[in-house]
Amino acid sequence: MIQQILFLLITIFAFAYAYKQYARIWKNIKLGQAVELKGDQSQRWRNVILIALGQKKMFKKWIPGLFHFFIYAAFIITQIELIEIFVDGIFGTHRPFASILGGFYTFVISLIEILSVLAFVATLIFLSRRNLLKIPRFHKPEMKGWPKLDGNIILYLELSLVIGIMMMNGADTVLQNMGAEHYHPTGAFAVSSWLGPTLFGGLSEGALVMVERTGWWLHFLVVLAFLNYLPISKHLHVFLAFPNVFFAKLTQKGEIPNMDDVTQEVKIMLGLIEPDPGADMSELPVFGSKDVFDLTQVNLLNAYTCTECGRCTQACPANITGKKLSPRKIMMDVRDRMEEVGKNIRENKTDCIAEAKKADGVILSKDNYDDGKSLFDLISDEELFACTTCNACVEACPVLINPLDIIMQMRRYKQLTLSEGPSDWLPMFNAIENSGAVWQLSTERDAWKNDL
């Protein structure tokens, strides 16, 4: 009875806290600009099935792809056992599904066990890949400190989940063999039927019950810890990969989206349309993106989905040749800035209200936010202007994150709003404007045909 009450209290507390955290993520994503979804809806669902559910792009690197698949499959199928843990925890039962499902129960738990062992092995391999092998993408400057620890914490949590399952199932097997009360037969599970007797064979009934209960609680508590750890870690991709893939751009990668607000201005400039006489000209228009408010909600979702695997950075020609640009860092910077802004708004830090909008009773919101900082404090010009727009990062991302879109929006802010950027580009701009070619030359455009 005490166990049941404790179980309920912990569960309610964990879910309430998780709700608060996921609501924070939701609100932070809403700081961005809403986007109108274009294109074929069925293609979006196909992407979710193939790329998110089917992990199609993970298999481009087949070794990590395969091991990641083990962890993923174990994660999904263990949820079945988790349902039973909740039933047992609330009603004080013990493995009620066994008598209902019979042989099928034995099969499902066996499958969970086999996948858990594979996931355990995969996790050990991932830990050594991260910490022992010198795989460059795990050792870039942006991976120092918290991101490195974060990656390891997740893996340790995964190990403890599997240890919990094996303790609980292994001890259960031995107790069943002893004919202990409550521990009714479930059929022999694939792994614990031999692992249990091997590890816990000589223990007394009391000790075995202790091991079984400890494993049960360990597994359950780690699941709740995991749920609440995700929103502060890089590991949100387990949920967000699905919406992220759904909302990803469907058009050709080569296309850089049109700025429709610029189109209006250019049409007026070329005399193609008349300016709207009622238009408010008091404020200079802002073009491009300076901060998270200017980015789209899809960009921000991208940032929370990024699990810092670094496939983008590993493929980036600028990064490969030693430039500062790292597409992964761009995503991490956007997320960090989003967290910072979100926290200030949640805490209603009124000193972050823009000077012009300060007044009694005004609450800090995304519409009056100005803390004197922006994405440009985190992302330097050197990074932005090293990009070749080659789309290698976009191609490399297993969950369709698009760092290039953010880089382009920030370049646009630099050029269009600040009139800043590499001075090398000015002759090219002038040439296009004045002579309609990328170089200013005295020869005629079709001079080449004279000596055909």
Partner: protein, 256 residues
């Protein structure tokens, strides 16, 4: 084009030459090779001549959206005056802007890149490959330009053009969707590199040398410039030649 229009004629193909193809000495060779192929295949084509403008690609990628859209709208206005079936261009950047970016500004044109168009001509028997050109017997590797490869998912057409040659074709370590950029895209062509350990074209040149290929087939004027510089830096210009697909085909076909 203006002359043809005045005579009331509308050609099948509008050959979009592009800035590099018009002004850059190296790219002009590609332009001429492509014209040679068009003539050999008896294609009814025209160029815009003085009326052609930069598509705006480097301006947009540098972040200068105003300049891009100005240039784009002027081109769209010019092109809308004329009748033709398709635009063919030897520049992946021009191709990409026409195909993916002009529609948002009201410019809907059918456009093909010359690597696809050459494949078409070969498949239709419009040109006959003899394989007796400069590249005969040489090992060739193909460099995927970003805006034909990843940008537009065209990986097979250029390779099929090369397959018509009967040469030994090898792939670089990073090819197709994993292909490595030459370093020119995103308007990098027009600026100095940001600080780093080496230039991107040097990295690519090393990869080319690893294949042992004697000829690199490219399909972008900016890639050609970059790769030639990279190969020169490695002092390997005597061992490796960078050629456009059009140059290879023009030199390996029956002259009609």
């Amino acid at each position: 084009m203006a002359e043809l229009a005045a005579q009331g004629k509308s050609p099948e193909i509008l050959f979009w030459v592009g800035c590099a193809g018009s002004f850059d000495a190296r790219a002009i060779k590609v332009t001429k090779a492509f014209v040679k192929i068009l003539n050999a295949a008896n294609i009814d084509f025209a160029i815009l001549g003085q009326e052609e403008r930069c598509t705006g690609d480097p301006a947009r990628r540098a972040g200068n959206e105003f300049l891009f859209q100005m240039s784009a709208m002027m081109n769209i206005e010019t092109l809308n005056q004329y009748k033709f079936k398709r635009i063919v261009t030897t520049c992946p950047h021009c191709f990409n802007t026409f195909k993916n970016e002009y529609p948002a500004l009201g410019g809907d044109f059918k456009v093909v890149h010359h690597s696809e168009y050459l494949q078409e001509l070969i498949a239709d028997g419009k040109i006959r490959i003899t394989g007796d050109g400069e590249v005969k017997g040489k090992k060739i590797t193909y460099h995927d330009s970003c805006y034909i490869g990843r940008g537009n998912d065209i990986y097979e057409a250029p390779r099929e053009v090369l397959n018509a040659l009967n040469n030994d074709i090898v792939e670089m370590k990073r090819c197709k969707s994993n292909g490595l950029c030459c370093g020119a895209g995103g308007a990098q062509m027009f600026k100095e590199d940001e600080p780093g350990d080496k230039r991107i074209n040097t990295e690519r040149a090393e990869e080319i040398l690893d294949t042992g290929a004697e000829v690199v087939a490219a399909n972008c004027p900016f890639c050609i410039t970059m790769l030639e510089d990279g190969i020169k830096e490695k002092d390997a210009q005597d061992k490796v030649t960078i050629l456009d697909l059009a140059e290879i085909i023009a030199d390996s076909m029956d002259n009609v």
